[in-house]
């Protein structure tokens, strides 16, 4: 047996092959021959060593070096550096992509960064970095030049609206809290960010915590509060830690605590953690949670501005709302109001997720169209598939089809279209997504997260879920559609809080825009997107299957049998339709029928 000192594994998955993996491999072989190394280095084919995002790619063992984004022309250099000189060819080494880079890349031309301006640029654990970016200048201006009324006026004129979902004018909210009698008053930051698919708030806190803190101090000055709380979800331990460090540093510089910056204004801040209840994002439930109770919503009125935390006047805003404040004060309301649409001013952060090419955070002025977001900023649909729907507003929002892509994004337009702004999660779905299944998925979520305090929400969401499950299982009847609509309108009207009121939206919007798909499930017992398990079958194509055994080894229930190098077969009785075999087959030999 030959002894090789190195083994090179070249990824030959379809997407790497498309990008020329075989050419790279040939060039590599040629170069090894040319440099006299072919007897020392063995080249092998393999699959999935990275994620194929940056193919063609290869691994060199025993060193375990991962090279990617290769072309045939790079091989001469690579062979010389790595195998002849024994040095790692740094320029092709796959960087250990950290979280942060993947989430927030350089802005495209359509983006404007206000809230995200410092994220990724400054060290969040060093207050000096924030100070160097004009940090706490706005607070200085507020304390020395502006009365609380003037601060509120500036925020009003900026047109800033709450970024937590409902879009209530922030200046107005502050006015109510200011004019409310009672003491002490509280300022609360809602960092519960429970919408799946949304992570803007986390990133702002982890990347620029002082912007949020400064915004809260200014709010406290404006309404006359002496104590503040940031309520952060327990799923975000790093955000909690970053905030605590930032608060400590601000306190040490006299920016929090007694007599801030030598003025007679005092204010301090504390972080409180949630414990995994989605409904605690609702403001009254959130306050109950800070008080140490079950996070059940309370009827409004009384509004928090009148009777909030511990029964005292309170102002609650979202993370992004506060993070806008220092910039508005520092650069002026007119500057801020110059961005956006008539009724939605400024910028908004969104998290792009799902089947879009560039997932991650973006910040755009209001008024861009969904098409610009998906295609210009997001780079279009992954793997050149077809766009099907965009889901906005989280579990209380809706799914919009292609016909709505030219909709300009602002609070009113999205609501009119039957969805909503929500906190800013945008999940893009391609043609392989089943909209009935998505409606079922969201109902599963809301049904599970309903706090159970009121019947329409508790019982109604469960009934909706049952019907949707029935349809997905191919057991639906055409009257079910009317029942769904009827139930939706009842739940919407009679529920106590926004969770119940918004829970039907995913069902209403998919029924409206994708009714045909419901009908296919019910009448023809077909799932056009080939998702609903009861209505599909995985089959191996004779003649395409090479008998490589990969699928059989990966199937979680051993439903696949066959000898090596012969066509494999799936036993439909055993198969649980998980789709793993299709994902791992390198030869596209598996289809869904």
């Amino acid at each position: 047996m030959k002894y090789y000192r190195s083994h090179v594994l070249v990824c030959v998955d379809p997407s790497c092959l498309k990008k020329g993996a075989h050419d790279v491999m040939d060039a590599l072989q040629d170069e090894l021959v040319a440099q006299g190394l072919i007897d020392e280095v063995q080249v092998l084919e393999t699959s999935r060593i990275g994620g194929c995002d940056d193919g063609p790619e290869l691994m060199v063992y025993p060193e375990g070096v991962h090279y990617s984004s290769l072309t045939p022309d790079d091989m001469a250099y690579l062979v010389e550096e790595h195998f002849l000189k024994g040095r790692v060819a740094q320029k092709f080494v796959t960087e250990e992509k950290s979280f942060i880079d993947e989430e927030l890349s350089a802005p495209t031309s359509k983006e404007i960064r206000v809230v995200l301006r410092n994220c990724g640029k400054i060290d969040p654990e060093n207050i000096e970095d924030y100070l160097a970016e004009d940090g706490y200048q706005a607070l200085g201006k507020v304390l020395t030049e502006l009365s609380p009324e003037q601060v509120i006026d500036e925020v009003l004129r900026s047109g800033l609206r709450g970024r937590g979902g409902a879009g209530f004018p922030t200046g107005k909210k502050w006015q109510f809290a200011r004019s409310s009698k009672g003491s002490p008053k509280y300022v609360i930051c809602n960092a519960d960010e429970g919408d799946p698919g949304a992570f803007m708030n986390r990133r702002v806190i982890e990347g620029d915590p002082h912007a949020v803190i400064e915004g809260m101090i200014i709010a406290a000055y404006a309404i006359g509060a002496s104590q503040g709380y940031v309520y952060c979800r327990a799923e975000y331990p790093i955000a909690v830690k970053t905030l605590r460090i930032a608060i400590e540093q601000a306190r040490n510089l006299g920016l929090l605590g007694k007599n801030i910056l030598g003025s007679d204004f005092s204010f301090d801040l504390e972080v409180r953690m949630g414990a995994g209840a989605f409904v605690c994002g609702e403001e009254t439930a959130l306050m109950a949670s800070i008080e140490g109770q079950r996070g059940e919503p309370r009827p409004r009125p009384p509004f928090p501005a009148v009777k909030g935390l511990f029964g005292k006047p309170s102002n609650i805003n979202n993370v992004e709302t506060y993070a806008n404040i220092p910039q508005i004060i520092f650069r002026g309301a007119d500057w801020y109001a110059s961005m956006g649409t008539e009724k939605s001013k400024g910028t908004k952060t969104f998290a792009l997720a799902g089947d879009v090419r560039h997932t991650g955070l973006i910040e755009i002025p209001f008024g861009l169209t969904l098409r610009e977001i998906v295609y210009d900023v997001g780079g279009g649909i992954k793997d050149d598939k077809k766009f099907k729907a965009i889901q906005t507003g989280g579990p209380m929002g809706g799914c919009l089809p292609e016909a709505y892509l030219d909709l300009p994004v602002d609070y009113e337009a999205l609501t009119q279209a039957g969805s909503m702004m929500g906190s800013g999660g945008l999940v893009i779905m391609d043609e392989e997504t089943c909209m009935v299944d998505i409606a079922r998925f969201f109902m599963d979520f809301t049904q599970d997260e309903s706090c159970g305090k009121c019947t329409p929400c508790r019982v109604g969401t469960r009934r909706l879920l049952e019907i949707l499950e029935r349809i997905c299982n191919g057991k639906g009847e055409i009257q079910d559609l009317d029942t769904l609509e009827q139930l939706c309108s009842e739940i919407k009207q009679d529920s106590l809080c926004g969770l119940g009121q918004g829970a039907p939206t995913p069902v209403i919007s998919t029924l409206k825009h994708f009714r045909d798909e419901y009908i296919e499930h019910i009448v023809n017992k077909r799932c056009p997107a080939k998702v609903c398990k009861a209505l599909i079958r995985y089959e191996i194509i004779d003649g395409v299957c090479t008998g490589c055994t990969v699928c059989a080894r990966n199937c979680p229930v051993n439903a696949i049998s066959g000898e090596r190098r012969t066509t494999h077969v799936i036993d439909p009785e055993v198969c649980i339709r998980c789709g793993i075999c299709m994902q791992v087959c390198n030869f596209n030999a598996i289809e869904i029928n």
Partner: protein
């Protein structure tokens, strides 16, 4: 203060019966007992320091904070992060948020069931790994995501799972 609580004989596995753990519990309670809304703060810290909040611990917290046991129990049962029984040494949590759901979490769960031999919500028989499904962890741009102990691992493919789970499967101690 209800003195009988303090002389109670606790079963094995009960943190209050373990001197070191009881000291931790006492410190947490004493540190926060005067904080407004102390219940949540104390429970959150107990959950992360001890790993669960047993019924005895709930009763103990109620006594020391001078609030009814039913209130403490009501809070513990409301929030999904609070658990009343010990968990595995490690946790493997799959995100079932929207982005991860459309990104392929369901297949990962099927594969993990096979690899660990338990259903979501259960702990492996050797007490090593608790297998859970959770809500969005805020790493949606890397969907599908699995959180192993504190580590967030993104873009997980089913055929990578054996490799990903191996370190925690081996680390039984």
């Amino acid at each position: 203060m209800n003195s009988s609580t303090f002389t109670k004989i606790y079963p094995k596995n009960e943190p209050l019966g373990d001197e070191a753990k009881k000291a931790v519990i006492d410190t947490i309670i004493e540190q926060h007992m005067d904080t407004p809304g102390a219940t949540m703060v104390v429970l959150n810290e107990l959950q992360s320091a001890i790993g669960f909040i047993s019924e005895n611990m709930q009763e103990y917290v109620a006594n020391r904070l001078h609030i009814p046991y039913s209130r403490v129990h009501g809070v513990v049962s409301f929030y999904s992060f609070f658990t009343t029984t010990p968990r595995g040494k490690h946790t493997v949590k799959f995100c079932m948020g929207t982005a991860c759901y459309v990104g392929g979490t369901p297949a990962l769960i099927e594969k993990t069931k096979q690899l660990l031999g338990v259903e979501p919500g259960e702990t492996t028989k050797d007490g090593n790994i608790t297998f859970e499904v959770c809500r969005c962890v805020g790493a949606c741009s890397q969907a599908p995501v699995v959180v192993i102990d504190e580590d967030v691992i993104g873009r997980v493919r089913p055929n990578k799972l054996p490799q990903i789970l191996k370190p925690v499967q081996d680390n039984v101690e």
